[in-house]
């Protein structure tokens, strides 16, 4: 049941295995704070190491984390653009 190419995958997974891993539910609970920490340019991996660890090991959660980050970055981007426009409009007395 173990193909040669599985061996490396398994050995790496075992190398990373630790006693105190969290599950998907706990990761999900903390994901919004994790992502906001990251968006604030703080080190989320250091602040929440168990979430970071889970994201490295769980493809499902990692996929959702990356999607959430992209969505929020886009939102943040459009917010700051609209704030700049608002400021410019005020500056030029258009409002």
């Amino acid at each position: 049941m173990l193909n040669p190419e599985d061996l490396g995958k398994l050995a790496r997974a075992l190398d990373m295995t630790r006693e105190d891993e969290i599950g998907c539910d706990e990761c999900f609970e903390q994901l919004d704070r994790f992502v906001e920490t990251e968006l604030a340019d703080l080190d989320a991996a250091v602040a929440m190491p168990l979430v970071q660890d889970h994201l490295e090991k769980c493809g499902d959660c990692r996929e959702e984390y990356e999607a959430l980050l992209r969505a929020l970055r886009a939102e943040q981007g459009s917010t700051s653009v609209s704030l700049i426009w608002a400021r410019l409009r005020r500056l030029f007395g258009a409002d």
């Binding site: 193909n3 490396g8 398994l10 050995a11 790496r12 769980c58 959430l68 969505a71 929020l72």
Partner: protein, 207 residues
């Protein structure tokens, strides 16, 4: 759309401004999903609208569980992403049974045996073979049938945890724990034999 604080969102969604707030929230969700689906999901607009509707219902049913630990819209987007990706995975893997995945794995093993990499040295090949056999026996002795199945499907064949869980009548969180237990058991066994996962990697030339 005007910016709202968390409190303003909650008040708006529960008060007379509800319809307007729901429209705004739907727009936030749709934008977030479109950013992710662009170029990757066919029928982008409809799909994003459909998922946004499902997510919105979930959000409105769970408003009381928002604890204010993040921005409200972050919490909403998190739920929307979960709803959307659960559905995308379900669609992508719809026609694949776990049996098929296990058989595919079995078959790919036989083929890769035949096409063995001839560039690596005979010593390396022998070491690799011994490691495969050793770990194989640990797996057989330490893991349950269920743990073995989950390991092959998720770790080796790349089936999403969520999809494997659905087929195994459990949920994603429980399946992660089951695999975590399996990894811990194998690691302990390797260490009990005086080895470490790092040494296994070294032996097969993948440190």
């Amino acid at each position: 759309m005007k910016q709202r604080s968390n409190e303003e969102w909650l008040v708006a969604l529960r008060g007379p401004e509800r319809d307007k707030a729901i429209r705004d929230l739907r727009a936030v969700i749709v934008r977030g999903l479109k950013v992710n689906f662009a170029g990757r999901v066919r029928g982008l607009d409809e799909t994003a609208e459909d998922f946004a509707q499902d997510a919105l219902i979930k959000v409105l049913n769970n408003l009381d569980s928002f604890r204010g630990e993040s921005r409200f819209t972050t919490w909403v987007q998190r739920i929307a992403v979960r709803v959307a990706y659960t559905e995308l995975r379900r669609k992508r893997w719809r026609d694949v049974s776990i049996q098929e995945v296990l058989e595919r794995h079995e078959k790919s093993g036989r083929e890769s045996d035949a096409l063995r990499d001839r560039t690596s040295s005979p010593e390396r090949e022998t070491a690799r073979k011994m490691m495969v056999e050793t770990l194989q026996s640990f797996i057989a002795e330490e893991l349950t049938e269920r743990q073995r199945e989950a390991m092959v499907a998720v770790m080796f064949e790349g089936m999403p945890l969520e999809e494997a869980a659905r087929r195994m009548d459990t949920n994603r969180n429980a399946l992660y724990k089951l695999l975590h237990d399996a990894r811990k058991k194998l690691k302990k066994r390797i260490e009990a034999e005086g080895l470490s996962p790092g040494e296994v990697l070294e032996a097969i030339g993948e440190e």
